[in-house]
Assembly symmetry: C2
Amino acid sequence: MAGVKDVARRAGVSVATVSRVLNDSARVTAETRARVLAAVAELGYRPNAVARSLRTDTTRTIGLVIGDILNPFFTELARAVEDEARGAGYSVVIGNADERADRQDHYVRTLLEQRVDGLLLCPTAEVTPLVRDVVRDGGPLAFLDRTLPGLDVPTVRADGTAAIGALVAHLAALGHRRIAFVSGPALLSTGRERTAAFTAALRACGLPARPEYVQAGDFQAASGRAGAARLLDLPEPPEAIFAGDNLMALGALDEIRARGLAIPGDVALASYDDVPWFTHLDPPITAIGQPVQELGRRAVRALLDRIDGRPVEPVVLDARLVVRRSCGEPAEQGSDETEGRLPR
Amino acid sequence: MAGVKDVARRAGVSVATVSRVLNDSARVTAETRARVLAAVAELGYRPNAVARSLRTDTTRTIGLVIGDILNPFFTELARAVEDEARGAGYSVVIGNADERADRQDHYVRTLLEQRVDGLLLCPTAEVTPLVRDVVRDGGPLAFLDRTLPGLDVPTVRADGTAAIGALVAHLAALGHRRIAFVSGPALLSTGRERTAAFTAALRACGLPARPEYVQAGDFQAASGRAGAARLLDLPEPPEAIFAGDNLMALGALDEIRARGLAIPGDVALASYDDVPWFTHLDPPITAIGQPVQELGRRAVRALLDRIDGRPVEPVVLDARLVVRRSCGEPAEQGSDETEGRLPR
DNA sequence: TTGTACGCGTTATCAG
DNA sequence: CTGATAACGCGTACAA
């Protein structure tokens, strides 16, 4: 494969000059520039980014480790991150942790060895030794969507506390008193936050917080189904089930359908995370939507700020309740802004 | 950041020895190996993959350029590719072409400059000059899902011809005679193949092929909605709409719902590509499912074969019809194997 | 078994 | 404005 040397020879100049026109770093005669460019085209020269990176100690690349590539929330997030990064001249390398700490670490390690300029991490566990080390060594890290307690790392996330409060109030207003939650893992900040917000919201509405009405899941569909099954098997099953993410809502839906139960007649259903198809179910699913695009954009900006040594402060955006009909007919229903919404 | 040199000094050995234990290439005393490993741990040494790649001319990395990261078909594909690659000791770098030829080329170029060992491409257009060059130069390329005419490149894909034939026969058996198709782009092999199979299937069933019943889309939801709108606005609207992929099916669904039409009473709906939530709609959507996991695995194996200089032949798997209820009640319905299926 | 020294393709420094 | 050359971090002949 042709290198700068070949190009130089063919253009009748030195390698230094070739490098200069390729990076338009210094002033070069229009004529020699043309000769070089011609040689580049003729030889089909492709710059070797590996060598370039070794020399410049920069890869123009950022890593993104997401929780689960099959989860639409994360793919939408990845999309937003990628768009913003591309705009800034960076490539994004995505690692799919599959909600496993070991796989997360695998990618963190690999990406660091690849010498990415920065790393966006949606942590899958409390904290692994590797992540602790990276933080200690001041690696170019930022957290996205999820936080890690006690670590001083720039974080971009959405807070669902208010929206969950609104959801529980909505359920209570519709007459539901036995409200259950299929939670995410307690190891994740998002899992904990949503559970805490849920119990606080119950209290605020004067509803009892029954421990058996909080079932632990792992953000995967199967656990949503299992959690719903346990809830529906209770001597006194809940009147409403709130799933901690869209995958678990899908699982809960599976279980509810399998039992031939009606929504919201027999049991109401709501979900954290909003996805396009929620709108098409009968009834459409009430959900809490996160500002995913904005999350992605802000995360990239925060990371680039950190890379460039600019000061960066945490970003917390708000999630919001989208009322549809899966929890019962509201007395007075606002227009559903996402009705008929199309992805992209 | 610590390098081999630092490790060597700390362990009291030469850099060569360090390199040897890191790659367990040659015989090293157990004792020195231990000393080196200790030094590595103490210094928190992280091998520089960039330098290593420059030296070895191999990155243990493959590129994957997909059509659209928001399309569940592609994310599932990416997942399968990643799993298989990881098993073989390779990392996967994903590029999202967003169904645009320019963006596809951007990633092909970038990945090539990054010196990936191989490149899996789901081509977004007939053929771009860049792709032509890469093929001509014998770049380590394989096509996935989509094929490019007249190019001698290993290809792994699914064929839907038989399944589409079965679908049209199914529709005809249910009494539908005016059957329409929202096609993918004619520039894509998958778009062309499905359209050809559709018209052939009509003919096989003795149904007329009306040109106005084939509306061109681009595999994105918005075009599915627009295509459905044009069809439903026809003086003689179709009794059944078959969408060329799951995103366009979502769009068509949007349009049908917006018009207050009943499925399948007013219009039947079917989709190419099967997704988990199809099962939960009322009625559940009849679809054609591809063996996505297998596609991903075979693609990686084919690419690695090519990289290692082993002979590789094209792989064509079969898609299959999954009958649900969105086209009407079949006289005799087989069990739906994917009912209640959970992702992962 | 271990050490020395060269080179991978590029950019950046320093002369000219 | 252009050219010669050192250096980036690592792997590997070759020598010891």
